[in-house]
């Protein structure tokens, strides 16, 4: 359908045909192309029904089954679409222009689904915490509503309640994230944003241990998130005001001035660049908030630390993937005409993000906060790739996201294993001598850290190299230099953790590495495997990314 008549649904309605109500033409929805999202959202709804109707005892397994199947099926659908050429030749816009089905969208959806699947395993882990009253428990509160330490909570624990709602919440979040990078108009963008944010807010609040931290994290995340999305919405409004439409294609045309017939109103607003720039800036800000770029990063450490670690892992990886996807689409599809305005700004943001992320991380003492700051630094690196306004830029970012997300999930999965009496032992001092106690786990974690640090033969290096190369070719050499320098700084604190694990004597009261169920084991194994494979033989995935590297408009 043509981009000029956006949203046939509403606009046709708006034209009254001489009193008589005209027939509403049924919108054409390409179900096949939307199937991945539909499957996941559908499964989420199903999950809620399960909550309603399935007896408590069976819920856990039912939910786990439904979610796993849904994610797997979704991934299968994505693959099918990709094979069907929807990523390249038959890429197009679906659902009346609301959603784009093209290379980046499918690639990122695939990544999100896989990451979601891996995260799901960590969500479902029930062997780490000591069984309470004979019931296996996972890392989520028995009953979120009950006050920590209160009788009701004790009762809930005694009764062996578990918050199986986390699974549908996870599915909703995944669904939203899948739509986010595929959204082809600002409205869908906004909706997707909220659809995956709200479940995350909730998930953050659901930790079984350290609930105070968990709730605090949730509040901070929620308030700041809502604050950010308010800005985003205002930006959307301004863009709409500027272009008279929220469709990406339309806005792009207006920006470039290649629009067909210009209505007088449009002519009026088109002239007003302030609307455009202001709107663009605000929408971008909303996305930068989600990727955790400086100076919109301050929620990251607190939320990462407070949230239940499986949630943190999921958030840290999947959210970044989705948000960067959306950011890419926004900058490359909607605002290419504005490149000379946003690139310098992004340069600044990227540089600051890398530097501050790396530097502040040095003095962190909590492993989760440390990883949070490292994720900030990485956001900076990825931004460097985003800035290279060329296809290599897109594909390099896609590859980096794929590599990074798996490393992150794996790393946080390892964090869930290291526990002492008070639950997870996240303070660095407690990790001393871990390498002596359980060499294998420490070694795996070391691999993840080295990948973060970007040491060759790990996925981290391949990704970093791809991004920097693209940036350099895009003429951002200074940014590359800043990048390598800050990675040198960043290397320091990754190394510090390794030193701690291997070279310092274990403390007598130190934490133990809990023996995980196959679920977490699989999660970690997958993470490690992907890290190494993408590091040693990245070619196939690079090809994938570069094939997927073109947006449809």
């Amino acid at each position: 359908m043509s981009a000029s008549a956006v949203h046939g649904l509403w606009t046709d309605l708006a034209a009254p045909a001489d009193g008589s109500i005209a027939k509403i033409p049924a919108p054409t929805i390409e179900y096949a192309q939307l199937s991945p999202v539909m499957i996941v959202i559908g499964a989420a709804v199903l999950g809620i029904l399960v909550e309603a109707f399935v007896p408590r005892r069976a819920r856990y397994h039912a939910q786990l089954f439904v979610s796993a199947v849904a994610l797997a099926a979704g991934f299968a659908a994505v693959v099918a679409l990709a094979v069907g050429g929807h990523a390249t030749t038959r890429a197009g816009i679906a659902a009346e222009g609301a959603i784009a089905v093209d290379g980046p969208a499918l690639f990122l959806q695939g990544v999100i689904l896989l990451v979601g699947l891996v995260a799901l395993f960590t969500f479902a882990e029930r062997r780490l915490d000591p069984a309470a009253h004979g019931n296996r428990v996972d890392s989520f509160a028995a009953q979120a509503a009950s006050v920590p330490g209160s009788d009701s909570e004790k009762a809930a624990v005694k009764a062996g309640f578990t918050t199986t709602e986390v699974f549908p919440l996870l599915l909703f979040a995944v669904g939203g994230m899948m739509v986010f990078p595929a959204a082809n108009d600002l409205l869908t963008l906004f909706i997707a944003l909220e659809v995956f944010s709200l479940p995350l807010y909730l998930l953050c609040a659901l930790a079984r241990r350290k609930r105070l931290l968990s709730q605090e994290a949730a509040v901070k995340y929620f308030l700041l998130g809502a604050f950010a999305s308010a800005f985003t919405l205002f930006g959307i409004a301004l863009l709409y005001g500027y272009a008279g439409s929220v469709s990406y294609g339309r806005i792009a045309q207006v920006v470039e001035g290649t629009v067909g017939e210009v209505s007088p109103a449009l002519a009026g607003t088109m002239g007003n660049d302030v609307l455009l720039l202001l709107g663009a800036a605000l929408v971008t800000m909303g996305l930068l908030f989600k990727v955790g770029a400086v100076p919109f990063h301050m929620w990251t450490p607190d939320v990462y630390q407070g949230a239940p670690t499986p949630v943190t892992g999921f958030m840290a990886s999947a959210t970044k993937v989705a948000a960067f996807g959306a950011l890419l689409r926004l900058l490359y599809v909607v605002l290419p005409g504005l490149r000379w305005d946003w690139r310098p700004v992004m340069w600044g943001v990227a540089a600051v993000t890398m530097v501050i992320g790396a530097i502040v991380a040095i003095t962190q003492t909590d492993i989760k906060r440390l990883l949070a700051y490292s994720s900030i630094a990485h956001a900076g690196f990825i931004l460097a790739g985003v800035i290279a306004a060329k296809p290599e830029g897109i594909s390099s970012v896609l590859f980096y996201l794929a590599a990074y997300s798996f490393v992150t999930v794996g790393a946080f999965a390892v964090v869930t294993l290291v526990r002492d009496a008070g639950g997870e032992a996240t303070h660095l001092s407690k990790w001393a001598g871990l390498g002596r106690r359980s060499p294998l786990v420490a070694a795996v974690f070391a691999v993840f850290l080295l990948a973060f640090a970007g040491i060759p033969l790990t996925s981290g290096f391949a990704g970093k190299f791809a991004v920097f190369k693209a940036a350099a070719e895009g003429g951002a050499a200074p940014l590359v230099v800043v990048g390598v320098l800050s990675s040198a700084v960043a290397a320091f604190f990754y190394i510090r953790v390794i030193v701690l694990m291997f070279f310092s004597e274990p403390k007598p009261d130190g934490p133990t590495v809990a023996v995980a169920s196959p679920l977490t084991t699989v999660a970690i194994a997958v993470g490690a495997a992907v890290t190494v494979v993408l590091g040693v033989a990245p070619q196939y995935f690079l090809d994938l990314a570069s094939q997927a590297g073109t947006f449809v408009r």
């Binding site: 509040v219 901070k220 308030l223 700041l224 604050f227 950010a228 800005f231 660049d273 302030v274 720039l277 202001l278 663009a280 800036a281 605000l282 971008t284 800000m285 908030f289 400086v294 100076p295 919109f296 301050m298 929620w299 450490p301 607190d302 000379w340 305005d341 946003w342 310098p344 700004v345 600044g348 943001v349 501050i356 530097i359 502040v360 991380a361 040095i362 003095t363 700084v489 320091f492």
Partner: protein, 643 residues
């Protein structure tokens, strides 16, 4: 054949040093046998040379290419000619004798095997030095003898003094070696090679400046090896080594390598008169320096060392005179090889009989107790002071004549110095003679163990107390006797009819010097001066009894005892200064260079700690930062558009 000559002692060294304890019993015989073997080989070669015509007595044996690199050829090639064969005979001959002597001298040392290994190593290196056909190979031998001397001086390593002396010797030599290597580099950049023939023939093709530079660098090397001023300080301390070592290395052979180098490079020096002048000056100064030091020392070996220094001074002086001197230099070198080796062996024999007492003031009247030693030593003494008819007389006299023959004021000065030196030589040698073999027997009324020699050489384990002077065993005396013969007749044999000169002429070239005064005048003068010296010495040490404890002495005496303060100078300036330098550098490295690095790290850390505070936990302040960030973003975007 030539290679075999070197191989023999090399093999000996390898076998003895790697052989392990099972060779302890036979070790010294193996060593001596191989040394003797190479002497025999040398003799055979010599005979071979004699068989040839005077002009084609140069054999070159090219073994293999040592360092073949783009534009850089260093071969392992040996050159046998009159000059080198002379040295070969001297080295292997005296060397063999001293091997024999050492069998007796080192009898009681449990590390005798290693001692002989080192001796063989030295022989090999020295032979390489004199047989090499290019300067790089010569350098190899040059450092080789340095190593051997290092090992032998420090042979009694448990004595800190010995270890220090060894180190000092090596270091001072290294300074000289610097000169040699720079000289070689200069040759390479000038001639593109450093083989003797092309270099020495190519002298004409290049400017005098370069040649002077090369010559001076060679001289520096010679100073190091031959203990010439200013690099002479090591020789005195080198006497820490066992006496045979002093005899072989620090009297007869190694220390004369410098003279060999100068004579060998004669063509270069001939073309660089300024350099030659410097050479003569160095020679003259050392000549006096050594002589003066020799007068003051009470340690018999140190006194002899001083004399060695001064005798080599003569040789260097002669070598500096050019064609008129080269041959005489070598001739004096050979004769000196004989009598000085003899003297040292004699001294060794004395010490052997006196519980290794080296202080002459504690000797006296020994002639009756050790007659053989007395006689041989005496003959050596007569030879060195240039008693008419003995070898020293011929060689030294010729040098003095040549010195005068240099002509002009230089001639007079140099000649005068040489003459004076002859007198002083006579003085201090007589002094040694008198203090050791004549006068009252001061060693009778001695405190028990000699206090100034706390660690007694293992060679003497017949306790302290009053020594019982006795003659040394045959194995020691025989070499002394042989050398004595040498010191008596060598001079006459060489000198009469200029046999030696003509023998060397094809290599060193020879020109008759014409002294301003008739030759016999010089001779007479020399003899007179010599007699004066002897008389003076007798007046001081012969008539009056010698105090067993050294008197304070005159200013000059005290200065001479302390090597004219040359060591103290080194110590203060070089050693102390060096220590300060290194210590301060260590400090700099730690605080500055390393400090910068650690400082940067600390700085980043501090920055991090400060930035951390922004993360203060207040949700609202986070919101503020977001708000501010947005404002910035918007502002920046608008600004971009504005500009």
């Amino acid at each position: 054949m030539i290679a075999l000559l070197i191989a023999a002692p090399l093999l000996g060294a390898a076998v003895l040093l790697c052989g392990g304890r099972r060779l302890d019993r036979a070790g010294h015989w193996i060593g001596t046998a191989l040394a003797a073997l190479s002497f025999v080989l040398g003799a055979v070669l010599f005979a071979g040379l004699l068989g040839r015509g005077a002009e084609d007595r140069t054999l070159v044996q090219h073994l293999y290419s040592w360092i073949p690199v783009e534009g850089f050829q260093a071969d392992v090639a040996f050159r046998l000619d009159q000059l080198s064969i002379t040295f070969v005979l001297l080295i292997t001959g005296v060397g063999s004798l001293i091997h024999v002597y050492s069998i007796g001298y080192m009898e009681h040392d449990e590390r005798r095997r290693r001692f002989f290994g080192y001796l063989n190593l030295f022989l090999a290196a020295m032979l390489i030095l004199v047989l090499a056909d290019n300067y790089l190979l010569l350098y190899l031998g040059w450092e080789g003898v340095g190593l051997a001397s290092y090992l032998l001086i420090g042979f009694w390593q448990h004595k800190p003094s010995a270890a220090t002396a060894a180190k000092k010797a090596f270091l001072v030599n290294r300074v000289g070696d610097m000169g040699l290597s720079i000289a070689i580099m200069l040759m390479f950049t000038t001639f593109g090679t450093f083989a003797f023939t092309p270099v020495l023939d190519g002298v004409g093709k290049t400017g005098e400046g370069t040649l002077t530079a090369i010559a001076l660098m060679l001289l520096l090397a010679a100073c190091g090896k031959s203990a010439q001023v200013p690099l002479q300080s090591w020789l005195g301390d080198a006497m820490e080594g066992p006496t045979p070592v002093s005899a072989l290395i620090h009297a007869a052979t190694m220390v004369t390598a410098g003279v060999y180098l100068i004579v060998r490079s004669g063509a270069i020096f001939n073309a660089a008169p300024d350099a030659q002048l410097v050479v003569t000056i160095v020679g003259a100064v050392t000549l006096l320096f050594g002589a003066i030091v020799g007068c003051a020392k009470d340690d018999i070996k140190k006194a002899l060392a001083g004399s060695t220094m001064s005798q080599i001074g003569y040789m260097v002086l002669a070598a500096g005179l050019g064609p008129i001197g080269y041959a005489f230099a070598i001739m004096h070198l050979v004769t000196h090889g004989f009598f000085k080796a003899g003297l040292f062996l004699g001294a060794g024999s004395v010490m052997h009989g006196m519980n290794d007492e080296v202080d002459m003031r504690k000797y006296g009247g020994l002639r009756t107790y050790m007659p053989v030693t007395f006689v041989t030593f005496g003959l050596g003494y007569l030879a060195i002071i240039g008693f008419p008819g003995l070898s020293g007389f011929f060689s030294k006299d010729l040098i003095i004549e040549a010195a005068f023959a240099k002509g002009g004021t230089q001639g007079w000065i140099l000649g005068g110095v040489a003459l004076l030196g002859a007198g002083i030589t006579a003085f201090y040698m007589t002094r040694v003679m008198l203090m050791t073999f004549f006068g009252e027997e001061r060693w009778r009324n001695l405190p028990a163990a000699s206090p100034d020699q706390p660690d007694v050489e293992p060679a003497a384990d017949h306790g302290g107390g009053v020594p019982h002077p006795h003659e040394s065993p045959k194995v020691m005396t025989v070499p002394m006797i042989v050398l004595a013969f040498g010191s008596v007749f060598a001079g006459a044999f060489f000198g009469i009819g200029e046999r030696f000169v003509h023998w060397l002429e094809p290599v060193t070239s020879f020109a008759h010097g014409h002294p301003p005064v008739a030759a016999w005048v010089v001779t007479v003068a020399t003899v007179t001066v010599m007699v004066l010296g002897v008389g003076l010495a007798w007046a001081q040490y012969g008539r009056r009894p010698v105090p067993a404890v050294a008197p304070r002495g005159s200013l000059l005496t005290r200065a001479a005892r302390r090597d004219l303060y040359q060591d103290d100078f080194n110590h203060v300036v070089l050693v102390r200064g060096g220590e300060h330098l290194t210590r301060s550098l260590v400090y700099v490295d730690h605080t500055l260079v390393d400090g910068v690095v650690n400082g940067t790290a600390a700085g980043v850390g501090g920055l991090s700690a400060r930035m951390r505070r922004l993360q203060n936990g207040f949700a609202r302040s986070y919101a503020v930062s977001m708000f501010g960030g947005t404002a910035l973003l918007v502002a920046a975007t608008l600004l971009m558009r504005a500009v």
